[in-house]
């Protein structure tokens, strides 16, 4: 059953403290009418999956700038699967080289938004995929 509001977890895996992007996204999505759970920095894959489960979110947005995405994202996807929340839409942003995109798509990340992406584009993307999901 479709909910009135889309629930989004904005999470920062790894140890980097660069949270400017994550906070801007969190604010923009909230302003667009979504419900936001923001984890803060230094989250382990286990913690992120646990919050996704507890908060029953529709979307998980991962922000990372340290370069550890190829190591940490697979662990997060695995944890989500283990906890049975692999139905959520996982998207990512931060400093992620384009040549890494195929590997990340392959592990189930649905979209990657690099530096300079207008926040409206992310809002539109989430609304679109959630609408598609509701239809199917």
């Amino acid at each position: 059953m479709a909910r009135a509001r889309i629930r989004v977890l904005v999470a920062k895996p790894g140890l980097d403290g660069h949270d400017r992007g994550a906070k801007i996204i969190a604010r923009a999505l909230r302003d667009a009418g979504m419900e936001i759970i923001y984890t803060g920095i230094r989250q382990t894959p286990e913690m992120i999956a646990e919050v996704a489960l507890q908060e029953d979110v529709d979307v998980v947005g991962l922000s990372i700038l340290s370069g550890a995405h190829l190591e940490l994202f697979p662990l997060i996807m695995e944890q989500l699967k283990q906890k049975g929340v692999d139905g959520v839409i996982v998207i990512a942003g931060g400093i992620i080289p384009e040549e890494d995109f195929p590997a990340l798509y392959h592990m189930g990340i649905k979209a990657i938004f690099g530096p300079g992406t207008p926040t409206q584009q992310i809002v539109d993307y989430i609304n679109k995929v959630m609408a598609e999901k509701a239809k199917s």
Partner: protein
């Protein structure tokens, strides 16, 4: 808002002696040295440190051969937050944004073949600064270097970590004690060491305005000076070793005015608030790193032009050292080629542009002096507000600076998205552009190798010595004694950074994030 024209009326209140003074004289608005670049050019220092101690060591030697005059060490995040490379939280992060240092052995490898009495080394390290400094001292001793000759900087600015950068570990008041322990130790044994580099850089990077960048950093500076005085240190014994780090952005005149205003304000704070007599105690000596967050992924070669403007702003404002961000930084860690271009940018401005030929060439410009005064007044208002909240630490605990930065960051973002703030290649003049290739990639085997190295060091050390030194550290941490000698003892016994920080976490308590969004 900027007016169309500025005239003598806009600087009618300007008193040369009180507002500007000659370079090298209080209040140092025109620069801290009488001859500035004519006497000696700024130190050209590119930030680097990669993957492993061996690889970083090779890179440092390369940069020194290329004419770089100071080293700047980036540590990886586990080292900055006090976890060994084999800790679960270090997964994926070992060697990523800098070099991993678990024990003294890594520090020795890092500086192998580089005489530590001949280079100046800047270490970007905060929560674990006393530990890394102890390792540097121990490595120098093993080279047979007189530690009194050590020249360099520990960032050691924990307050901006709570505000913006995020690599804090302990509760603020315990962290402040470690900060002042370094002040006290260095004033005795490392007279040439810059004990703290107070950062506006990271505050700006998190989205603040230019005025907030300076104001929040100066307010942190006031808190450090007060803390040092409170533990009984003499202002004149440590104030002269304080240095700063700021950004420059693309608005050339605002950036120049910002730094001139900062020099004047800090001099007045030191003399009027803290009673510093010695001119050196009132000097605002700063390093500049051009603005990382101004770099964009779209049409990345445009970043070279942005960095050049920012370099010019830094040089024209009268600074002591400079690092230029590399054009590929919105995409990856900078490649060697991009770092070399950053160094060349500095060299072209230094040797070809003529802007270094005379001191503070923009002084007396109606606009620049007006802007210096205007920004100065805005910065002062912020400092007064922080004072009214009980000082920088109390304000941080109330989330004041974090909220102000968050507001500025969101305002800027909405201005970019509405097109009010033009970013070439992003929201205007967009066009297809060639993708950057040959991005720097950290070898994924680094983490495994570093863990093996750590296991080997732990296997070969005298365990009884490690246990005894850690026990001593715990005791010292519980008393008010200076922790530096205890760290030195641990380090020389090859105790790991994680072992030392685990003890301190237990004694000092761990700070949770001040969540503001």
């Amino acid at each position: 808002m900027v007016d169309t024209l500025y005239t003598p009326e806009d600087i009618a209140g300007l008193d040369y002696g009180d507002s500007l003074g000659y370079p090298g004289e209080y209040p140092f608005t025109r620069g801290v040295q009488p001859t500035m670049y004519r006497g000696r050019l700024w130190t050209m220092r590119q930030y680097s440190g990669y993957a492993s101690a061996e690889e970083s060591n090779r890179r440092y030697r390369y940069l020194l051969e290329q004419g770089q005059t100071g080293l700047s060490v980036a540590f990886d995040l586990p080292t900055q937050i006090g976890y060994d490379s084999d800790h679960p939280l270090a997964r994926g992060e070992v060697g990523k944004v800098g070099v991993p240092v678990d024990t003294l052995e890594d520090m020795e490898t890092l500086f192998q073949g580089i005489p530590l009495d001949k280079v100046s080394t800047s270490m970007t390290i905060n929560a674990t600064a006393p530990i890394l400094l102890a390792m540097y001292i121990a490595a120098a001793k093993r080279q047979g270097v007189d530690i009194a000759k050590l020249d360099g900087t520990t960032q050691n600015d924990i307050l901006k970590e709570y505000i913006a950068r995020g690599t804090y570990i302990f509760l603020p008041r315990h962290s402040m004690r470690l900060t002042t322990d370094i002040f006290a130790y260095c004033s005795k044994y490392l007279p040439r060491w810059n004990t703290i580099s107070i950062g506006g850089y990271h505050i700006r990077e998190a989205g603040s305005t230019a005025a907030q960048e300076v104001a929040f950093a100066l307010a942190n500076g006031i808190a450090y000076v007060q803390a040092a005085i409170d533990v009984g240190l003499d202002v004149e014994a440590f104030a002269g070793r304080i240095s700063w780090i700021f950004q420059t952005h693309n608005n050339l005149f605002e950036e120049i005015a910002k730094l001139r205003a900062a020099r004047r304000l800090w001099a007045k704070v030191m003399r009027e608030r803290f009673g510093a007599e010695d001119a050196r105690s009132c000097m605002f000596r700063t390093h500049i790193q051009t603005g990382g967050s101004t770099l964009v992924a779209q049409q990345p070669l445009n970043n070279i032009v942005r960095a050049t403007i920012q370099t010019l702003a830094a040089v024209l404002s009268g600074i002591q050292s400079l690092a230029v961000a590399s054009y590929d930084e919105a995409l990856c860690l900078p490649t060697e080629e991009a770092v070399q271009l950053s160094l060349r940018t500095q060299q072209i401005i230094a040797y070809e542009s003529g802007v270094a030929d005379t001191v503070d060439p923009l002084a007396g410009s109606y606009y620049v002096e007006f802007l210096t005064d205007t920004l100065g007044a805005e910065i002062k208002r912020y400092i007064e507000k922080i004072d009214s909240l009980g000082g920088a630490v109390a304000a941080i605990e109330q989330g004041y600076q974090q909220r102000e930065i968050q507001e500025s960051s969101c305002r800027y973002q909405s201005e970019v998205e509405s097109g009010k703030q033009v970013v070439v290649g992003v929201n205007k003049f967009t066009s297809p552009y060639p993708k950057l290739t040959r991005l720097l990639r950290v070898d994924p085997g680094v983490e495994r190798k570093q863990k093996e190295r750590l296991a080997r060091v732990k296997g070969n050390r005298d365990q009884a010595k490690v246990v005894a030194s850690l026990k001593n550290l715990e005791e010292v941490a519980r008393t008010g004694e200076n922790t530096m000698p205890a760290f030195l003892e641990c380090v020389e016994a090859y105790a790991t950074i994680g072992e030392m920080c685990d003890i301190l976490r237990r004694v000092f308590g761990v700070q949770r994030e001040f969540l503001v969004f």
